[in-house]
Amino acid sequence: MRVRFTAMITCMVLLTCLLTACGDSSTSNESDGVLDPVNQASEGNGNFNVTGYPIVNEPVKMRMMAIINPAANSEFEDNLFFQTMEEMTNVQWIFETYEAAAFEEKKNLLIASKSYPDVFFKAGINRADEYNFGKQGILLDHLPLAEQYAPNLMAYLDSHPEFRNAVVTPEGNLYTLPSIDKDTIIGFNIYNKTWAEKEGISKAPTDVDALEEMLIAFRDGDPNNNGQQDEIPYFLNGEWHFRSSFLSFFGIYPGDYQLMVWDDKTMYVPTTDEYRQALITARRWFTERLIDNDMFVNENMQTVKGSEGILGMFYDWHSTGTVPEEMAKDYDILPVLKAANGRTTWSSRNPAASGAFAITSACEYPEVAMRWVDYMYSEEGSILADYGIEGISYQFNDKNEWEWVIPEGEELITMRAKNTIRPGKGCPGIVWNLGPTTDWITNEVNEWEQANAYAGFIPTPKLFYSDEDTKAINTINADLDAYRKEMTAKFITGEVEIDAEWENYIATSKQIGCDKLVSIYQKNYDAMYK
């Protein structure tokens, strides 16, 4: 009997469709129903101490999943922070650690197969997942637990409404704990002060025109004295720097989804008139070689060019991020310029970022976990997480400046990775400033942060969105972002004429959905803040 092959395939496909009847039974390691965290504890298992340390008298083991610091050549078990915490609290962790991309996949898989861990730590859980998993009961509502067992954390949430608003949902639930960093600046504009002075500019430019003059002086004056006009007056590392560094000159800064909220009103930055002005100026500076013409080519050139001593101005967290230390002293920050529209905007982030820590419904000892993590919101806990132990990983000198203790043959980055836990993905707790240090770089960064006039500006407060809104945002944003990036690059390099195409650009952006994006954001913003 010859059976035709295609008929065979059809039969099998139908058969496999019937297989959909097969069960999706899963092994569950969660208890039935959502744990009632408060009552759980009050059932008093004698082991748990509501205050003081250790947290439990007999050791308790829980499963933790975390994102590692890729620079660390040691595992969490060997990390000084965890060892110290275990001694103090009697809480033992079983670690499952991955690097960031792998973690994302694994996390989704574990949740879908209902075998997720007790606790997520340094997990960078994104807002959409956080909201969904929380609503579905996978992540606990931490507020009742925190109110009972986390005095340090509550102190911050109660005294700083902006922290609270960044992490609590519109319904008043707290599904993940925040990473709090009062320093909100992402990067600074850094210019070569020595060169400026050489060209006769004694005061830092305060507006765009003065800046342009300075850049022209850099380009023409050969301030690095090597007989060649090889200076790059203004180095921008790709489209991201255009957004972070350049736009502030015009009083706009795009936050989430390229939006910005000013006076409670949301706008889509790439179609504003300020953006057009910025593009026109950028285009002009590009043709006049005031901006590096390789800007969109490849994003690995910042340190390369920095080390060649040809950069007049760039964007970074500190000058030493770009140029070698010997050259760093020539650079200083450029204070925020006066924008034509009178606004002060800068590349900043929210002081509180959610997703750093979460207790799941699989956890049998949520109150223990909550007390454990609360330590990280205290001064001692923060210092332990960030600096380690005095005398072991850091110490104070007689001038009361702190410095790292780096054993022979090791480097700062690996020593820190082994003895502290903060570096890497957002860590629960708060970033503590230990004061002046022997390291002039850290001191200078602190100084720059204090001196800036940008503090307090948050471009777009973080919000939580419904499923429907999330999907709409995802769809619009994927296309809109690609379009914006492409058009911005073409406008700046001159491949497309700004004046001729601007109307088209706005119309297309609207067609893709920028207005809809704005209205979704505004709607959720009003629900949260008005």
């Binding site: 989704n108 959409a128 790709g238 969109f296 499923d467 492409e486």
Partner: protein, 315 residues
């Protein structure tokens, strides 16, 4: 007397055929059994998950508990702003890749086969095989170094020869070429292995006979070598059609920059962008299913074509 017995009944005849076959070739069945069982466990048992493409999958609800949304994800994909561009780019990259890789790999294998000096043969095989192991990150890094418009080797050579340097890395027109030819460079040695093995299976007597008949090298290649590897080549071609639309994500994503998006936006990078804020499991499953079905249709098409034109086909 007419014997109306069991042996005349059709169903019993069928049963007898089965029994004959089973006893005669029982060991063949045993040999193929492990593969059938393994696939049954790891491929068929999970297959109910295909539904995910038609549902709004929420991890906490599981697959069965998530609600049906029918073709919503597909429609969402088809109506995305850049749909035409994305499909066009994906198809261009896959077809271009096929047209370049398939014949050139065969030519390369044949050339290597003709080399008589053993040391040269081994060397070039090794050297062409090595690039396969270079990770994508490093490969793209190398492309960016070599093709940089001012410091890259390629442009420096061009300038020395008197030509103008070109902007390869930021040009949308250059992107497909960079992608495909670097892919050829990376994969040709490894892919040629199967053809070299097939060529080694060609009876040398055929070659000897051809030489005696006075056939030159090119003749011999055309009339002995090529037919000898044609079955392998046909099968490889059909199998390649089986994942033609699955242009890989990582390399394209690394090579993408704002100025080449016109040709570098493909299905997999689009799915990634949509899903980057989280929660889009069903969407990616739907797109994957769409690609699979398209691939399957193409495969059946090419298979039918091959069946008509030659003796070899997949099925």
């Amino acid at each position: 007397m007419i014997k109306i017995g069991k042996s005349n009944d059709i169903s019993h005849r069928f049963a007898k055929v089965i029994k004959n076959e089973a006893t005669r070739n029982y060991d063949l069945y045993l040999m193929i059994l492990p593969a059938l069982i393994l696939l049954g466990i790891f491929a068929y048992a999970p297959m109910y998950g295909v539904q995910i493409a038609f549902k709004d999958f929420m991890p906490a609800n599981g697959i069965l508990g998530s609600e049906w949304v029918g073709l919503e994800h597909f429609l969402r994909f088809f109506s995305s702003f850049n749909f035409v561009r994305i499909m066009r780019n994906t198809i261009v990259l896959s077809l271009y890749s096929l047209i370049v890789n398939f014949p050139l790999t065969i030519v390369f294998a044949i050339m290597i086969n003709e080399v008589r000096a053993k040391w040269f043969k081994k060397t070039i095989q090794m050297v062409s095989y090595a690039p396969y192991f270079i990770s994508t990150v490093v490969l793209v890094g190398m492309i960016q170094v070599f093709f940089h418009q001012r410091t890259g080797l390629v442009n420096i050579l061009l300038m020395k020869l008197g030509f103008e340097p070109a902007t390869y890395l930021t040009s949308a027109t250059a992107f497909p070429h960079l992608y495909i030819w670097s892919g050829l460079w990376q994969g040709i040695g490894y892919s040629a292995v199967i053809y070299i093995a097939a060529l080694s299976g060609i009876d040398p007597q055929l070659h000897e006979a051809a030489i005696i008949d006075g056939a030159g090298k090119l003749h011999r290649i055309w009339y002995v070598d090529l037919p000898g590897i044609m079955p392998t080549a046909t099968i490889m071609l059909i199998l390649n059609m089986g994942h033609i639309l699955n242009v890989g994500f990582e390399k394209v994503y690394l090579m993408q920059n704002p100025l080449n998006l016109e040709t570098s936006q493909i299905i997999s990078t689009h799915v990634y962008e949509v899903g980057i804020q989280g929660m889009e499991y069903s969407f990616s499953a739907a797109i994957g299913l769409f690609q699979s079905i398209a691939n399957l249709i193409l495969l059946i098409g090419v298979n039918t074509l091959c069946k008509k034109l030659s003796e070899t086909s997949l099925f």
